[in-house]
């Protein structure tokens, strides 16, 4: 912090970039590893689930909304929060709805009645 007071304001974030880059590279490998054995049955829920996960951009949207000053930034920040909320809430809800249908276990035949009603839900 003393270096900041002396006017050298980039020291803290300047060292940060390498750490962030490290995290980024490691996350690339984790991301690849984690989905490498997904059966194609689950490709759609996986796409939908990962779509929901990037909805965490809401945290970023909240931060810019909180620090926004002036009309332009406020309006843009507002829409950033709105869009990110759509992404995260909609994403998790849709994924849950998809996965809800996978409840039946192999060989466990659910009764036929009421299936069509479920479809309209």
């Amino acid at each position: 912090m003393t270096s900041v007071l002396s006017g050298d304001i980039f020291i803290i974030s300047g060292t940060g970039i390498l750490e962030f880059l490290t995290i980024f590279i490691l996350a690339v490998f984790v991301g690849n590893e984690v989905v490498s054995r997904v059966p194609s049955i689950l490709h759609t829920p996986l796409m939908s689930g990962s779509n929901a996960i990037h909805g965490i951009v809401l945290v970023g949207a909240m931060i810019v909304m909180g620090t926004a000053t002036g009309t332009a930034q406020m309006v843009l920040g507002f829409f950033a929060v709105l869009l990110a909320t759509l992404n995260i809430v909609g994403g998790f809800t849709v994924t849950d709805r998809m996965l809800e249908m996978f409840k039946a276990k192999p060989g466990d035949r659910a009764p036929k009645g009421g299936d069509d009603a479920d479809g309209a839900k």
Partner: protein, 485 residues
């Protein structure tokens, strides 16, 4: 004056406890993605990720970086935006039909990209303000991160919007092409890179806005030449793009959670996209740049060629008898089944046949429908047990012993041209070998070719019988016919 600027330029730090919560959320996301690999764990995985997201969002209200404690108006606006967003998202996600799921994923993906782009813009405007007030120009890498988030986010936003419009059939699902398309797209890409570099060099707001606008244009023109059949691959790619845009936002805001979550999605999304194009027997660049399926449409010859050749169409009663007395029936579902919402009727028919002692399974092509696994989702909705669903590689060796291949609303995924006709646009695409079965029955709406726009020789084969109509109707008729047989 300068002292005040220094305090504003230096953002407050995220306290350790909040960083730890963010770390826990990131770990939860990794476990959730892992959980999505197994049908039993998938739902728990999703719930875990959602819970982690809620916790991360709640602690962000207390994160000094967001400065909500100093800015009440901003806090109120943020809450209003979140309430409005949730009030729109939940009913939409709950009500939309399963067949429209691909569009829905496209639109939720697009708004995420839009949010990442807006974050970049707001941060850029804030920094530029301080710069003009006499503060230091932001570091080159900081502007570069922001510009990457802006560029990728804009492409993802407008690209997803066009993908949505195509899948919703508000515009034609066929590729939209014009002369010099690749060159024009390339030039727009080069112009964006040039503008982005100029923006980084000058920190100029108008240049930043020009980059954003041109990136939105690029998203549109990038998606236009991609045909309806390939849009799932595209959505997967755009999903990956949004992940990367979110990671860029994480760099801009020095936020580990955004970097990890965004990168996870970016990396896994690209892998998934490649698996999907591989399932179609094509490279990703072929999917993206070949305007697949436009040629035949332009020629308009497909329908004419179909009329001159003989097809054999049967009655539901004939086919009902054929099915009821078969030993082994393979049901091959396609998009027609999804459109007609016929998954329950398909299961009813399969159950009835099984009650009669017929061996029945479903052969699922990886890209049947409009998303990978689309058929599995629909059949799971109808409570079809997993062990009756066989993936292509598992199903094909058994096709030779099947008495009847019942193709419900599928076409390209059983087209033997993929094996036999060198030079056919789908040559090399793996298919389900319906032609190996002793008899083939097609339930089709019309003689129109599939998404790929190619004639299917199997329709004209002498062992093939066609039953025209909506898949749900024809399946219901077959159920009745089998009951009476």
């Amino acid at each position: 004056m300068t002292a005040a600027i220094v305090i504003q330029v230096l953002p407050p730090h995220t306290p350790v406890w909040i960083d730890l919560v963010y770390l826990a959320a990131a770990v939860a996301f990794i476990i959730a993605l892992k959980g999505l690999s197994s049908p039993k764990q998938a739902r728990n995985g999703n719930v875990l990720a959602a819970a982690a997201a809620v916790v991360a969002v709640v602690v962000t209200f207390f994160n000094p970086v967001a400065q909500f404690s100093h800015h009440t108006t901003n806090l109120v606006l943020a809450i209003i935006a979140m309430v409005v967003g949730a009030a729109i998202a939940v009913p939409v996600a709950r009500m939309v039909k399963m067949t429209a799921m691909p569009q829905l994923v496209a639109i939720f993906n697009g708004v995420g990209g839009g949010a990442a782009a807006l974050i970049s813009i707001v941060v850029f405007l804030g920094d530029a303000n301080l710069h003009t007030l006499g503060g230091a120009k932001p570091a080159v890498y900081a502007i570069t991160e922001g510009m990457l988030g802006l560029l990728i986010g804009c492409v993802s936003f407008s690209g997803s919007a066009i993908a949505f419009i195509k899948l919703q059939e508000l515009i034609t699902g066929r590729p939209i092409t014009y002369p010099g398309q690749q060159v024009i797209n390339g030039l727009v890409g080069v112009a964006i890179v040039g503008l982005a570099v100029a923006t980084v060099a000058t920190d100029s707001v108008p240049l930043m806005i020009a980059t954003a606008v041109l990136s939105l244009v690029l998203g549109v023109i990038f998606v236009l030449p991609i045909g309806g059949a390939d849009v799932p691959v595209l959505i997967s790619l755009l999903n990956s793009f949004t992940g990367l845009a979110v990671a860029a936002s994480g760099f801009t805001l020095n936020n580990n959670l955004l970097i990890i979550a965004g990168t996870l999605v970016g990396a896994s999304g690209i892998l998934l996209t490649r698996m999907m194009s591989k399932a179609m027997g094509r490279s990703l660049s072929n999917v993206l740049f070949s305007a697949f399926g436009s040629v035949v449409t332009a020629g308009g010859g497909a329908d004419g060629a179909g009329e001159t050749r003989q097809v054999k169409s049967g009655t539901p009663e004939d086919i009902g008898v054929l099915l009821a007395y078969a030993r082994k029936v393979v049901i091959i579902p396609g998009y027609g089944l999804a459109v007609a919402q016929a998954q329950h009727t398909a299961r009813e028919l399969a159950d009835l046949l099984m009650d009669k002692g017929v061996e029945v399974f479903y052969a699922i092509h990886p890209v049947a429908g409009r998303m990978p696994g689309h058929m599995n989702v629909l059949l799971a909705e109808a409570n079809v047990p997993y062990d009756e669903l066989k993936e292509m590689d598992e199903a094909n060796p058994e096709m030779g012993t099947a008495d009847v291949a019942l193709v419900v609303g599928a076409n390209d995924t059983v087209n033997p041209a993929a094996k036999n006709t060198v030079g056919s646009p789908i040559y090399g695409m793996p298919i389900i070998n319906a032609d190996d079965a002793a008899q083939v029955v097609f339930l089709k709406r019309s003689m129109r070719p599939g998404f790929a726009g190619i004639d299917n020789d199997l329709l004209f084969d002498e062992k093939t019988t066609l039953l025209f109509g909506d898949a749900k109707d024809t399946l219901s008729k077959l159920v009745k016919a089998v009951e009476e047989a």
